[in-house]
Amino acid sequence: MQSSIRLYEFFLNKTERTQSMDIPTRQRWLGVLANSEAAALQTLLSPHLPPPEHVEWLRQPQTGLVMVEGRTGGAGARFNLGEVAVTRASCRWQDLTGHGWVRGTDPAHAALIAQADALLQAPDRHPALMAAVIEPLADALRARRELASRQAAASKVEFFTMVRGE
């Protein structure tokens, strides 16, 4: 999860900085979009999508491998954790550029994220989209993580050592 967010950070720093929106805000919505289910995103976003002829594709969806780095204990030396398949796409809507990067090999998912990213940068579309798309996806994501951590916590085993002797 953390790694995909860092990917966006890398990407945004390398290519272009968003003009109006600050980076952490954009990182948050890109992180939510990338970690959500493609089907859920499709359902929530489709009423808001611009007509296809208004979207110009700078980069059609393409899949490649990205090396994910880790740090021992979160702070130690860097090491290569492994390669992960990543699909990316970029589009322009009006004069806004949207980038979509997502783990996996689903081109439609990357295309949806790119369009959502472009729309979210438009000040007049931003509040409605945050309320209708990003917040529900973020809630679902949080619920999914809580469920997972509850299930993990329920399987926790406590070990006791009986005091012997006396």
Binding site: E16, W57, Q60, Q62, S90, R92, T97
Partner: protein, 192 residues
């Protein structure tokens, strides 16, 4: 700042252009059209942009003169190229129409052990014709007449000096809009 679209089919289009480029360099100074052209960028002709999309990647340093930010951002977006600070540190040196050409003998010409570490010039010119020089060398069966509008007056004299350094020296690609002519360092020219 606005990014522009590149090749419609990045892999296929780049491969087709690369094939044409190989032929252009193996049959020097015989103009041939690039098979697919991307949209031109502000300050660069479509043919030049096509060559950069075809040749440049993240391992390549390209020197470009002052160009609009859109153009630089788009080239970086589609290729991942690094921008060289000076022509001396570049693998590719792009000279758009109307920009000054640096002296050829000052550019990276490779080393005796690694002649391939020389710079390649991409020079935008006007239309090709047959009036400036008579060229000969590998890939040219019979002496060939060639010329290009818009080249500096002493270009061919400089080129002959460049050729004399063979196997070192720079290579050049001349671009007249969508038509290219290869000019590898092996080509010898005689003016008049």
């Amino acid at each position: 700042m606005m990014l522009h679209t590149g090749f419609k089919h990045p892999v296929d289009d780049a491969q087709r252009n690369f094939r044409a480029l190989l032929e252009a360099l193996s049959r020097p100074l015989q103009p041939r059209a690039l098979p697919t052209l991307p949209p031109a960028l502000p300050g660069l002709a479509a043919g030049t942009v096509a060559l950069l999309y075809t040749l440049a990647d993240q391992d390549v340093a390209v020197w470009l003169p002052d160009l609009p930010a859109d153009t630089l951002a788009t080239l970086r977006f589609h290729t991942g190229m690094t921008l060289a600070a000076s022509p001396l540190a570049a693998d590719f040196i792009v000279i758009p129409t109307g920009r000054a050409l640096p002296a050829l003998d000052a550019l990276p010409a490779g080393e005796a052990e690694y002649p391939d570490r020389a710079a390649t010039l991409i020079i935008e010119t006007g239309a090709f014709h047959q009036c400036d020089v008579e060229a000969s060398g590998p890939g040219i069966a019979a002496p060939l007449r060639f010329g290009a509008q818009g080249l500096p007056k002493d270009f061919w004299r400089q080129w002959q000096v460049n050729h004399a350094r063979y196997p070192l020296g720079v290579d050049a690609l001349l671009v007249a809009d969508g038509v290219i002519a290869g000019l590898p360092r092996s080509v010898s020219v005689k003016e008049g």
